[in-house]
């Protein structure tokens, strides 16, 4: 009896008349996955569908360890052990850094791997800005806080939508190292990422999303090494798909 951690099957999603996801299927078992692709291909919609946030109308199936997520409210999805770092951070402007973290702390059952102290250890910059409000942080600091906030829910699965956006190279480096450690601790990551360096160093399995479908699966090594592949799937020329 081993259900995969996350199983997405034939997922279709619509915003109004726009058919954004067209039959997406994949599983996350023991390995992290990165989903790459050009802009406007439906990657963020996929996250929204999984998390049940501002839900597009969706059909198909999304299961976490066998429990169906479609149709569930997002707070219940979060309680199933799914953490989320949304694109654009979505912080609470009136709460300070510390309040953000303490609010989330201990909200969830299960192992308490994460504490605010550990988040501060991961992002020392945040420790310096403990008392500052969400709105007073710089872009990169906001990103750190959004990640820290998601980690504090002690998720088994962490969905991150462009976590490296706006972060300085050195911080990204630290982040990659942290996530590798977390991987070893058992956290599984579904990563949406434009920064190929981040995507390839965090996940070996690379799904390429084009026009609402998983067009191809490849490995980090292959993607990193093959400029033709990059040009075809991530370049700016329109992609012919038949």
């Amino acid at each position: 009896m081993s259900e995969p951690l996350l199983a997405v099957e034939d997922l279709h999603a619509y915003y109004g008349p726009a058919h954004v996801l067209q039959g997406v299927s994949f599983e996350i078992g023991d390995e992290p996955i990165a989903i790459v692709g050009r802009n406007g291909m439906g990657k963020t919609t996929l996250c929204a569908a999984i998390m049940g946030i501002r839900p597009p109308r969706a059909t198909g199936s999304i299961r976490v360890r066998g429990s169906e997520l479609l149709g569930r409210a997002s707070y219940r999805i979060a309680r199933l052990g799914v953490g989320y770092v949304p694109q654009g951070r979505r912080l609470f402007p009136s709460l300070s850094v510390d309040e953000h973290l303490r609010m989330v702390e201990g909200r969830r059952n299960g192992a308490r791997r994460w504490t605010p102290a550990r988040v501060y250890e991961l992002f020392p910059r945040l420790a310096q800005r403990k008392r500052n409000g969400g709105a007073q942080l710089s872009g990169g600091e906001q990103q750190m806080l959004a990640i820290g906030r998601a980690l504090l829910t002690n998720p088994d699965l962490l969905i991150m939508d462009e976590p490296s956006e706006g972060l300085a190279p050195a911080v990204i480096e630290g982040l990659i190292a942290t996530f590798r450690t977390l991987e070893e601790e058992g956290l599984r990551i579904l990563l949406i990422e434009q920064n190929l360096a981040v995507a390839t160093s965090l996940a070996e399995r690379q799904l390429i999303m084009i026009a609402g479908e998983i067009a191809a699966e490849t490995t980090a090594a292959e993607l990193a090494a093959n400029p033709e592949l990059q040009r075809r799937y991530l370049g700016v020329e329109p992609v012919e798909h038949t």
Binding site: I172, R231, V236
Partner: protein
């Protein structure tokens, strides 16, 4: 900064880069000091007046006009620095010159196929493209871009780099960017900020070589690129 200069501003998160932009653009009043544009003291001018002097900027969180179409957003960006943008009579769509300029700007950032779409329905990466198109369309003398490459795919970043390199030499460019591929290729001079101060200034190669920059900002990854 000199006219026509291309400058990148680097620095760890929270170094004050965006705040510097806000002060220059007039969105934030400085507690002390002065801002001069084209030899004129603009410290007390509102941001709209600075825009009319030829200063255009983009925002980190794109801050777009989500309810308008891409085309209308670009129109607004052109009209804003023109005289008579209150004209109640003439429709922008009927103004050939305006249309041409908007289309050209959209073409330069490869967003032409979305001109009639409402900005709010576009993806995050497309928002960056729209923001850039708007900034370019106003034909600024000073262009300030706040992390223009973030959210762009690798291919789009290449396009962006080429676009910035091909900019009219008259345009002064200030860039905040974490993608060193983009920043160091485009910029002629680089300013490194830390904790609200400028700590190093130099050419891209000087910056690459600078120890302090590595220690504070780049980490190890870019050491031998």
């Amino acid at each position: 900064m000199l006219p026509g200069e291309r400058r990148a501003i680097l620095g760890p998160n929270g170094a004050g880069k965006t705040t510097l932009f806000n002060v220059i653009a007039g969105d934030l009043a400085p507690s002390a000091g002065r801002v001069e544009l084209f030899g004129e003291d603009v410290t007390t001018l509102p941001s709209r007046a600075r825009a009319r002097l030829g200063l255009a900027r983009t925002y980190q969180q794109s801050r777009l006009l989500l309810g308008l179409t891409v085309e209308n957003s670009i129109y607004l960006s052109i009209l804003g620095v023109r005289k008579g943008h209150l004209r109640p009579v003439v429709l922008p769509r009927r103004d050939e010159e305006l249309r041409e300029r908007a289309r050209a700007a959209a073409g330069r950032v490869a967003i032409s196929h979305k001109l009639d779409e409402v900005v709010g329905s576009l993806s995050h990466g497309e928002h960056r493209q729209v923001a850039l198109a708007m900034a370019l369309a106003s034909e600024p003398k000073i262009l300030m871009l706040d992390e223009p490459a973030s959210g762009l795919s690798r291919g789009e970043r290449t396009l962006l780099t080429d676009l910035l390199l091909a900019l009219d030499r008259e345009i002064t460019l200030i860039l905040i960017e974490h993608d060193m591929d983009v920043a160091l290729r485009v910029a002629e001079r680089v300013t490194m900020m830390h904790e609200g101060r400028v700590i190093v200034e130099g050419t891209p190669s000087e910056i690459r070589a600078d120890k302090l920059v590595h220690e504070l900002y780049l980490g190890t990854a870019f050491g031998d690129e």
